[in-house]
């Protein structure tokens, strides 16, 4: 029965894909739907929808998915059917490039030029949304990858947020001695986090070269990173990857002291009743190699896109234009407790503002998160390899070899 369901689902998707045809035009919409894979953010999307109705007479209703593959499959199916979203969230990097190349996404260069001119978007964000000199989509959110920590656990152990990697290791040893697991780790989706953090903190060039195929996952620099990651696991510094407890719960309970996440994790922390600045804080993760002059802050940005054949493209563009303005961004950032892509927007949370300030300083270099950095097939292989590694750290060379094989296959195909 299970197979049958899956087969019918595949076929149903395929059959709808055959439907084709032009989208039903409905000019002058007063209500638009925003499809997203962030179902947990529905209340915040609804707040924005109410505000847009009030300010530009265009009500936005969110349609939230919680399962990423189902969502991605729906969006891709919509390209070939008449059921098309007015707006939809997507991913930057290779996945955005893929749908842009397929001619599905509306050009938003005019919105970008206007927003940069008014200071609503920083120029530095533009490359992540640019293909062949044109911009596509607008930023739904931005997030910096930082370390969240439980303040009470740190206070009990007499610790301060570390400024150097050595300080962080000293803190980890002290926490371990008190029976607290220093760091959060997982074998599932976010299993790439420690890899990206250890590699970017050691050798930013090697990190970026992996994305272009110039470097191999079997290079000595990558092997060294895996050995370092293994040693952190061997020392008992990482939480058990088989624990299905949410990281915010682990931090709240004090079982785990620190968790590396994007600043969007702030929303998860406040949702479990933790108070920013009092119960928990965040700090930029220091470089592993102290010789690196700039601290590298990993960064991600999720796009809000418009289909080239959107049901009412003008209405969708109107919403996207308004979305970038301070009023919308203030509401969005404040309600979620996250940073905004609009530099003019400040948020009440002092820790977040500090991170936001650090991100703009000359001591910090921004770099794309591993998830968006590498092409999708390599990412899939990497997530498998890191998942297997988290369970059997001793197998790191085997995992790196398998991963490199997938990378070789991808680059060989891409070069054809």
């Amino acid at each position: 029965m299970r197979l049958l369901t899956a087969v019918v689902a595949t076929a149903a998707l395929a059959l709808t894909a055959c439907g084709g045809g032009d989208p039903a035009k409905s000019e002058g919409k007063t209500q638009i739907k925003l499809y997203n894979d962030k179902g947990a953010w529905s209340p915040y999307f609804k707040d924005i929808g109410a505000l847009s109705k009030q300010q530009i007479g265009l009500e936005m209703e969110p349609v939230g998915y919680t399962d990423a593959p189902t969502y991605d499959a729906f969006i891709k199916a919509s390209f070939r059917t008449s059921v098309k979203p007015d707006l939809f969230t997507w991913h930057t990097g290779g996945q955005l490039e893929e749908i842009v190349k397929a001619g599905q996404v509306a050009d938003t260069s005019s919105l970008w030029n206007e927003a940069i001119g008014k200071g609503y978007l920083p120029e530095s964000l533009k490359p992540y949304y640019t293909y062949d000199g044109k911009q596509y989509c607008v930023p739904l959110n931005i997030a910096y990858w930082v370390m969240f920590y439980n303040k009470k656990v740190f206070d009990d152990a007499g610790l301060q947020p570390p400024k150097t990697w050595a300080d962080m290791m000293t803190a980890a040893a002290a926490l371990k001695a008190k029976g607290v697991t220093p760091f959060y780790a997982t074998s599932q989706l976010f299993n790439f986090v420690w890899f990206q953090q250890l590699l970017i903190g050691e050798d930013p060039q090697l990190y970026n070269d992996l994305a272009t195929g110039k470097a191999k996952f079997t290079d000595p620099g990558v092997v060294k990173v895996m050995q370092q990651w293994k040693s952190l696991i061997d020392m008992g510094y990482m939480s058990d990857p088989g624990d299905k407890t949410d990281p915010q719960e682990l931090l709240k309970s004090g079982k785990v002291a620190m968790a590396p996440f994007g600043t969007w994790f702030n929303t998860s922390m406040t949702q479990v009743g933790m108070k920013p600045g009092t119960d928990y804080g965040m700090f930029t993760i220091p470089n592993v190699n102290p010789a690196n002059t700039k601290t590298t802050l990993l960064f991600e940005s999720g796009p809000l896109c418009i289909l080239d054949k959107a049901p009412d493209k003008a209405a969708s563009m109107k919403f996207a234009q308004w979305w970038l303005e301070p009023a919308a961004q203030e509401k969005w950032a404040t309600s979620r407790g996250d940073v905004s892509a609009n530099p003019k927007v400040t948020i009440p949370d002092p820790s977040l503002n500090e991170i936001n300030k650090a991100a703009g300083s000359s001591d910090v270099a921004l770099s794309s998160r591993f998830f968006e950095l590498v092409p999708a097939p390599i990412l899939t292989a990497a997530l498998d390899a890191f998942g297997a590694f988290s369970v059997k750290p001793g197998d790191y060379q085997k995992q790196l070899a398998t991963l490199q094989k997938a990378a070789d296959d991808y680059w060989a195909k891409a070069g054809k």
Binding site: M1, R2, L3, A6, V7, V8, T10, A11, A12, L13, A14, L15, A17, P69, T70, D72, A73, K76, A77, F79, E98, I99, A102, Q104, S187, Q188, N191, D240, P241, G242, D243, K244, T245, A376, P377, T380, D384, A385, F386, G387, A388, F389, S390, V391, Q399, T402
Partner: protein, 300 residues
Amino acid sequence: MTKRSRRGGLASSDRLGGYGFVSPAVLLVAGLLYLPFLYTVYLGFTDYDGLYPASFVGLENFRRFLEDPALTTSVRNTLMWAVGATVIPVGLGLLIAVLSYGIRGGAIYRLPFMLPYALSGAGLAVIWGFILQSGGAANDVLGALGLPGATMRFLVEEPANTIAMIIALTWQQAGVNALLFLVGLQSIPKEPQEAARLDGATGWRLFRHVTWPLLAPLTTVVVGLSLVASLKTFDIVWVTTQGGPGRNSETLAVTMYRDAFVSAEYGYGAAVAFALSLVTGAVSFMYLRRQMSASKEGIV
């Protein structure tokens, strides 16, 4: 009155009417079963990715499937499911049915085994995910009782994760198998059993030589159903471990879903689906053929 032609068949007008009556059902079956199946087979020979029109790639997907390093793990796990999730729940179901049949309050003893069947596959996976996770209820109970396994990472280590999930499925399936065997026990003729009892057969001997052979036709069906269901195992694995970590608990059905929907390689995923359908069909056919011919030969 129905008109008949000279050759005994229906007259053409009646035949036409007959087609009219059956066509909705035929269209429904064709539209929902045959067409999707044929379309999936077709997709298996293409590189369809959901973005661009599908183009024919011949046997490339099947070659890739056979060369996939994860295939060995996937096949091994599927075989573990096929054996474990057939033998254990069916055996336990038979034991529950036989032990509780014909005794006072039997229904009350059976009730706890029946209740888990009310859960959906996903619900079962969520509950057992919490029990089996590292530091979860299973570890706590084993620790409290001083038994080994208190620090065992049930969902992380292979093949422990597959075995743990088979146990979870057994918890749900044993009851319904017991119910089926109970129906069988109630329907088998009383005379041979009474005759055997008069001849002095009791307990194990009575079961082994009289009851068990009489239950054989039903056992064929129960084992057949369990075998096919276990070859297609998907929901419990996907919800509990998503086939991980590092693909180590993946079954063929999970491989298919992952390739088709997570990696958005619908052509390749369809090829895996086709291969899995062939395996399931072949195993079911061989099993039923063997069992049926055994019945005809009067072995049972």
